[in-house]
Every structure is written in structure tokens, then in C-alpha cells.
Symmetry: C2
Subunit: 347 residues, 2 copies
């Protein structure tokens, strides 16, 4: 898989292979493999939860139920930023540091369906040369999905699978220009936004609202003569953040500098993650957040399934298009159009 | 209606009166009254769209379809801010200014269901003494609602009714501490956030994300010795906003000062609204936004109806509680729980 285009083909191939695999029908194959931390089985298991084949879904559900009591113990970190900010270089440096502390690290990347990121995600794996070769690491791009909420679901399930396979730190990388940041924010314990110094132009790429989600900002490439600009940007962001409403957890958003070249700031950025978790745990906020995340996940799944049930009817899809046009032409009120589309479902 | 508690009773009474009203079954009563700008009929019509009585809903739908081609021509302004920031004083001053320019102004207030705001909304009407007595003005608090999305629906429909009744400016006030800001942001052309100077503490009340929605910030009570603090706050917000990603429309967020006592800044704040609309219209963004709003409204209505259809089944409501507990205890995965709840609906 060298190009972005071969991604979908690779996914189909992975699922076909899975189907040929006799042991796919054997839950024990997965539970045994995950219990022993076998990354080959972990990879298979992620393909399983990504599959829409009915038989796979059934086993996947059983597997996820098995995972539930065995998961939840990792530190889940979301990392976002525009293309070019240096996400994979940072994640490699962070991953190697975390491994040196004795943790096992899994990296999941999502949002490869965005045209802006096509290829770059696949590139990540090859770019993270050291990390991808380390036995303590597991790197996996998450696929596109045609099911509503599909990417969110498979990423969440992949996190649990990694945890059940014994990974202590799960890093979820997203591109920072799409719809997936809120999703990643909602499934992680710590959400990190990478920024470039000399930010004015770079900001164009960041969606509004992402900055307010961040538990920390990191200014990347603070090296090779760029240190002064980075330090200046840091001061500006700190004073700006001070004016904005505090996060629900009440902890101030730190702004750090990092250089993946001179390897500065990596240790501090990890210490900040641990400090944050400590803050959350001491106040009972960590458990609270994890529980809320489980319920959000359940309710989102229900909403997605409801929409799937509703729009899965091809007649309704056509009717929707027709009613949308009528609404735009001012022929019918949006509410009445909705009632018409619901039809006898409401009676 | 002097207290917040009598609000629900007043609503029930209004609907009962509506039912006794023989002409309620007569669409012409409403269309004729709205065409002639009769505020009594407008008030009746708003009660009609707020009613959940089936007969009322049918007439309301017909009425809204009649309104559609007659609406959309007003300037819709959303105003938010924490309790005590001076929303109603500002809205009264703005309203009187706008009336002096020859416009007719309607003020709708929403989110009275929030415990923080109980009473304050009703207080607004009596506090806006001049505006409420002006024949060019119409002030109406929006009710609480038990239907999901009910407040959003009735507020949107109320905006259209006001427009069909000839109001050129519709101001929607919301409390700035609840869930309704996104809703108001999505149904207005211009979203204004009122802030107090000496902001540090006041910021606690503003939800994160609201600042990023605002098309303009106004620092209130910039008078009686408070001018210096207000000017300082303005400069701080301006430089902070500069660091944050631009809004989709590309126009910088203005930060103004306003005093409803010395009547300064009111004219400028209105000029800013007009300037904003001009910017949007010249770039085709105004039409684009209005169209997107209509489709959002339609899709939200469908989602709400779907949820209503699904959770309207009392068996499912009980089952949901049970499954939520199992998810929190780690006995079942959130996704599997969702599938269980969907049951044979998915087959």
C-alpha cells in the first residue's frame, strides 16, 4: 500500500483475508491472542470491528463485550493539527520517550477520508520509522467508512482492543481540518493541539472551536533559528487563553514548545499529560469523564442506527431530496417537510 | 404572570383560551391578522405553534407554509450573555434606536427553563418599559417545552410569524449559560455576545465555544468610572481574537463598548450589524447561510421526530436505563447495548 488510492482496496483485501481465515469464527482465537499481546491478532481484531459483514459484526460484538472489563486502563491521548505541523514526527518522538519509560504505545490515525490528508496518514506509518519497528509499539491507520458514525465506532472499538492487548498508552491522531476532532476529543483523556509559530497564516487551517477543546497547545519546530518566534507565539497564546472561559475541569491550558529535531519539550509534554490525569483523578473527574464517554458512545450509536434505519429506505432518500428542494424554494416549511417525510411512522 | 413559577400555568391558560377561540380552526383568521400586522393575532399565532394539540399542529403547519414565502426578509439578531450583563437594557436601547430608524422590532426570549434564569426572562418584558409600550415593537418570551427540540422549533416558527406580520428586525435573546446558544446562533444572521469589563470572574459563566460563535463582542456598562476598565478589556479581547481562527465568513470579530446609561455605543453596534449583513450579502454568504439554516432546521426536525418515535415507546425507555447501567458496569459494550435496544427495528 504505497498510495492513498490503494487504501480501500487494501481494506477489502484485509477483510477477504479475514473471511478466509478459518479461526475468524472462533472468538477464542481473538481473546487468546489479545490476552498474550499478539499484535498480529490485534491487527486482525481491528479489521474485524471495521468489517460490515454480518458474521463479523456478531463476533465483534462478543469480542467487544469480552474487552469491556479488560479495557479502560490506558492513557488515551488525542493529537491534532493541520497537515505539515509535524504530527507524526512529534508522535514518534513522544512514543519513543513513553516506551523508554516502560509503557507500550499504540497509535491510531483517523480521518484519512479527507482529501487534504489523502496519503499522509499512510505516509505516517513509514515516516514513524523508529516507532513502527519498536516491539513496544503498534501503529494502525483507521479506515474510511460508509456507515454513519463508522469511523468513530471503529476507532473507539480499536482503542478498547489495544487496551485489552495490553497497551498502556493509546495515541489517536487526527488531521485537524475535518469533522473528526470532536469525536477524538470525546474519546480521549487529553486532547493536544499542535501549532506552528508565526501562526497568522497557519491558523486558517484550524477549525474554530478546536482551540477551545485543547487541554494543551504545543508549538512545534521550535528549533533552528525559529526559537524566538516560537517563544513569542507561546506568550501570545498564553495571554489569549487567559481571556477565554476556563475548561469544565478548571485546569488552565498549558502552551509548550517542542522540537522533534533537538528533542526538546517532548519530556515536558508527556509530564503535562500525567499532571493533567492526576488533576482529573484527584477530583473524581477522570471517572466521571470516562463514564460520560461510554454513555455518549451508546447514545451516538443509537442515533446513528436510527438514521440508518430511516434513510436505509430508498424511497425516503428520494423523498428527502424532493422535500429539500421544496423547502429551499419556500414552498413548504422545514418542519412540515420533516413531518411529511416521517409519514406514518409517527402515527 | 409575575413569577417564573406561574409561567407554565400561563402557557396552559393561553392554549386553553386558544381552544375556546372559535376562529382557531380558521386559517384565514391568522393569515388576515398577520397580513395586517395585528400583534394580537401574532401573539395568538405564536401560542398556536407552541401548542402540542394535534388540531393546532395541523393549522400551525398550514400557517407556516403560508408564512414561508412571506418570511425571510427581516434582520435576525441573536443576543446572549450571562445574567446581569445587561441584556434587556441593551436590547431596549437598541430596539428604540432601530425603531427611530423606521424599523419594526420583535424581541423573542428563549431558555427560560434554565434554573439560573428563572424569572429574569419574564422580568425582561416589564424591564423593557419603553420598548414594550412602543407600537413599533413586539416582545414575547418563548415557553419551555417538553418536546425534544421544541423550544428551537417554536422559536424558529415564531421568527417566521413575526416576519410575516411585517417585523423588519427580530432579536432573539438567550441567557448565555445553557444549551440554547448554538440553536440561536444557527437561526440568526448576526450573533452578539455581551460581556462585562473586569472580565476574569464573569467569564466563569460563559460556556466555552460561545465566544467563537460571536460575530461581535460588546462590553456593557462602559460608564460611571468603568470606562477605563472597559477600554482595557476591549484591547485585550481584540488582541486575543486576532490569535484565534477566523470565522467561516472571514470577517474579523469587532469588540465594541456600550453604555445603556449614557446611551453610547448603541448606534455603532447597530451599524456593525448592517455592515456585517452587507459583507455577507456581497459575497453571497447571506443567502447561503439562510439556505443552510432551512436545511439544518429540516434535518434537526427529522432527528427529533425519529428520537420521539423511538423513545416514545415506554418499553424502550425502561430498557435504555437498564442497558445504560450495564454499560457503566462494563458488562456490555456501548455499541452492543445500542444494537440490543434497537432490537428488531434493524432487521
Amino acid at each position: 500500500m504505497n498510495s492513498g488510492d490503494s487504501k480501500e482496496a487494501a481494506k477489502i483485501k484485509a477483510i477477504e483475508e479475514l473471511q478466509k481465515h478459518a479461526s475468524v469464527q472462533d472468538l477464542a482465537y481473538f481473546t487468546k491472542g489479545l490476552s498474550s499481546g499478539d499484535t498480529g491478532v490485534l491487527s486482525h481484531a481491528i479489521s474485524l470491528v471495521e468489517s460490515n459483514v454480518e458474521l463479523h459484526r456478531q463476533i465483534a460484538n462478543d469480542l467487544m463485550n469480552w474487552c469491556m472489563p479488560r479495557s479502560g486502563k490506558s492513557i488515551r491521548v488525542g493529537v491534532t493539527g493541520v497537515p505539515g505541523v509535524g504530527k507524526s514526527t512529534y508522535i514518534e518522538a513522544l512514543g519513543m520517550h513513553v516506551i523508554s519509560l516502560g509503557y507500550k504505545v499504540a497509535v491510531l490515525t483517523i480521518d484519512p477520508s479527507s482529501p487534504l490528508s489523502k496519503g499522509s496518514i499512510l505516509g505516517d506509518k513509514t515516516r514513524m520509522t523508529n516507532l513502527s519497528m519498536d516491539p513496544g509499539a503498534f501503529i494502525r491507520p483507521s479506515p474510511t467508512s460508509n456507515v454513519p458514525g463508522g469511523v468513530a465506532r471503529s476507532t473507539r472499538e480499536s482503542i478498547l482492543l489495544c487496551e485489552a492487548a495490553g497497551f498502556d498508552v493509546v495515541i489517536v491522531e487526527t488531521v485537524g481540518v475535518g469533522q473528526s476532532e470532536t469525536t477524538v476529543y470525546e474519546m480521549t483523556d487529553f486532547f493536544l493541539l499542535l501549532m506552528l509559530a508565526g501562526a497568522g497564516d497557519q491558523l486558517q487551517g484550524i477549525k474554530r472551536g478546536i482551540m477551545e477543546m485543547a487541554d494543551a497547545l504545543l508549538i512545534t519546530k521550535a528549533d533552528s533559528g525559529n526559537e524566538r518566534a516560537a517563544t513569542h507565539a507561546r506568550a501570545e497564546y498564553l495571554s489569549a487563553l487567559h481571556l477565554f472561559p476556563p475548561k469544565d475541569h478548571g485546569k488552565a491550558t498549558k502552551v509548550g514548545l517542542v522540537s522533534s529535531v533537538s528533542k526538546t519539550g517532548i519530556v515536558e509534554s508527556w509530564d503535562n499529560v500525567l499532571e493533567h490525569l492526576d488533576w482529573m483523578k484527584k477530583r473524581g473527574l477522570f471517572d466521571q469523564k470516562r463514564k460520560a464517554q461510554l454513555l455518549t458512545w451508546m447514545h451516538e450509536s443509537i442515533d446513528n442506527m436510527l438514521r440508518h434505519f430511516f434513510y436505509g429506505n430508498p424511497f425516503r432518500k428520494d423523498e428527502l431530496k424532493k422535500l429539500e428542494s421544496e423547502v429551499l424554494e419556500g414552498k413548504i416549511s422545514p418542519f412540515d417537510a420533516a413531518e411529511k417525510l416521517m409519514g406514518n411512522l409517527l402515527k
